[in-house]
């Protein structure tokens, strides 16, 4: 490689948790700074928001006019743009306002909402600019971000995994919490990637990695409904961390209508 990879980490509306995939990486963080030229990463002390980058990780959703403008500039300056985390891929919890009466919510919290720079929606990066790859997860983990960097350094985008959490659950010989305990585990509708943290400690997955490919939210809900779960609570399972990811939004909408 004749020139170091130029990497940027940008933040939009978020909790900062995904940036910790870097800041908690320990030795790997130091290694990353040696391998790559980190051109913007405010939380790590490097500020140059308009720097050109080969690879930019984007944390956060777009929820203000300023952010709308800024993400466009970042896109123009970036070759390979990778939204990371729930905020950037589906809007995360703050996108719950998209399906609510956002104006009222703002009015409840702010005495004069018109003076705040805000949009009525919090949208994922891909709804605003084109993206090259998405890393799902709330939050993404170090393995995901570092695998992206290493794969791109080797010349190819990383393999994208949209399979269900159950697969990894089974590979790890974790005993199914849905079948043995009747928990409302979202594993069968959730994308793999976290390492099966929740069933791994005996609790239900709540879908923080977003929808897997080809999910059947109706059948999953019908099973729980037969076991006594109210439709409204089923709807809330989908209207949670990834309420605005299309498959969850639609499943949530249908269960809400039923309730």
């Amino acid at each position: 490689m004749d020139r170091k990879l130029r990497v940027a980490v940008h933040k939009f509306s978020s909790c900062d948790g995904c940036q910790l995939a870097f800041l908690n990486a320990g030795e790997e963080l130091v290694e990353l700074f040696e391998l790559a030229n980190v051109v913007h990463f405010a939380e790590a002390g490097i500020v140059d928001p308009d720097a050109r980058a080969d690879l930019a990780f984007i944390e956060g959703s777009i929820s203000t006019h300023e952010e709308q403008e800024r993400i466009r500039r970042v896109r123009e300056n970036t070759r390979f743009l990778v939204p990371i985390g729930a905020c950037a891929t589906s809007g995360c919890l703050q996108a719950l306002r998209n399906q609510a009466d956002a104006a009222r919510w703002f009015a409840d919290v702010y005495s004069d909402p018109s003076k705040i720079d805000h949009l009525d929606t919090a949208t994922p990066i891909a709804a605003n600019v084109s993206v090259d790859l998405e890393l799902w997860g709330c939050p993404v983990n170090t393995r995901q971000v570092m695998a992206t960097v290493s794969s791109l350094l080797l010349g190819a985008p990383p393999r994208e995994d949209k399979e269900k959490l159950c697969m990894e659950c089974k590979r790890k010989n974790i005993v199914c919490v849905m079948v043995t305990q009747g928990q409302h585990c979202m594993g069968p509708v959730t994308r793999t990637g976290c390492g099966v943290l929740c069933p791994g400690i005996g609790r239900d997955c709540y879908g923080c990695y977003g929808p897997a490919e080809n999910i059947n939210g109706d059948a999953w809900g019908r099973w729980l409904e037969q076991k006594g779960m109210p439709a409204e609570r089923i709807a809330r399972r989908f209207r949670y961390i990834h309420s605005e990811a299309e498959a969850f939004r639609e499943a949530g909408r249908r269960w809400r209508e039923k309730s």
């Binding site: 080797l154 010349g155 190819a156 985008p157 393999r159």
Partner: protein, 277 residues
């Protein structure tokens, strides 16, 4: 026990750009002892490993009697193949194989051979053409039919021109969308059947290309009296191990990697074209 999953290191000796997205890599094993013993027939494939990224199945297109290099013509379509396309001579990759069943070239000797392809540069058949041309006397008539979507897509132009000059050889090309200057047929490859001379009892047919095109061709061939047993086709399915273990490439019972990729039509007849297989 030998690890059948373990690739062997090979060096890229030469890289030829065949078309905007198609390129040929000429490979040589870095272990000089590995090269001579490496025997294969056209139609067999290797698993090509790009360091750190992954493996893909790629047919071997060199002539089996040519032991200097091992050639693979690759279309850059996705993650691995695009990255492979950026390699340069001197770069190293991993190779394991050869796997599967190749074209029945022994059976084809003394017969008319019809090679029908569709889609962008069907490398496995081009290598068969070269194989036959190099041993022209062993085969009877040679019929080459190739269809492409747009005439611009056609690669190996000059070679088709050269081949059509050969004795007892017929070349028919078709493009669904013809650009100005296209002198061949405009339309589907299957329309070429009306112009081709096929002697049903004497002909063995090799098919390669998109499955709908292969099915349409089989229908036309049937109409012209070609027996199912004389039709061979090359299949593609998702492939990981190449050894008949991983289960991705099954079409019903047959594994494409083990029982194919070249199949006599009767083996697939029941499921060919059935959505989901």
């Amino acid at each position: 026990m030998q690890n059948p999953y373990l690739p062997r290191e090979a060096e890229i000796v030469e890289r030829i750009q065949e078309a905007p997205t198609i390129f040929t890599l000429k490979l040589r094993f870095t272990d000089p002892a590995a090269q001579p013993g490496y025997a294969y027939v056209p139609g067999q494939f290797n698993m090509i490993y790009l360091y750190g990224i992954g493996e893909v199945a790629i047919s071997i297109v060199s002539d089996p009697d040519e032991t200097e290099t091992l050639d693979h013509t690759i279309r850059a379509v996705g993650r691995v193949t695009r990255a492979l396309s950026r390699l340069k001579p001197g770069d190293r990759i991993g190779v394991r194989g050869p796997y599967g069943r190749g074209w029945p070239l022994l059976e084809a000797q003394g017969k008319d051979v019809a090679l029908i392809t569709g889609g962008l540069g069907c490398a496995p058949l081009v290598s068969v053409i070269r194989y036959i041309v190099a041993r022209r006397e062993r085969f009877r008539r040679l019929l080459i039919m190739q269809g492409v979507k747009r005439s611009d897509d056609l690669i190996w132009h000059e070679q088709y021109q050269r081949w059509r000059q050969l004795p007892d050889t017929e070349v028919l090309l078709a493009a669904e969308v013809a650009e100005p200057g296209w002198t061949w047929h405009e339309g589907l490859v299957t329309a070429l059947f009306d112009r081709a001379e096929i002697d049903p009892g004497q002909t063995i047919v090799f098919l390669c290309g998109p499955e709908p095109m292969m099915r349409a061709s089989i229908y036309e061939l049937g109409q012209r009296g070609v027996a199912d047993e004389d039709i061979w086709l090359s299949m593609e399915r998702n492939m990981h191990c190449g050894l008949g273990h991983c289960g991705h490439c099954m079409i019903g019972a047959p594994f494409v990697c083990r029982n194919g990729p070249v199949f006599p039509y009767p083996e697939l007849k029941a499921l060919l074209g059935k959505k989901g297989f």
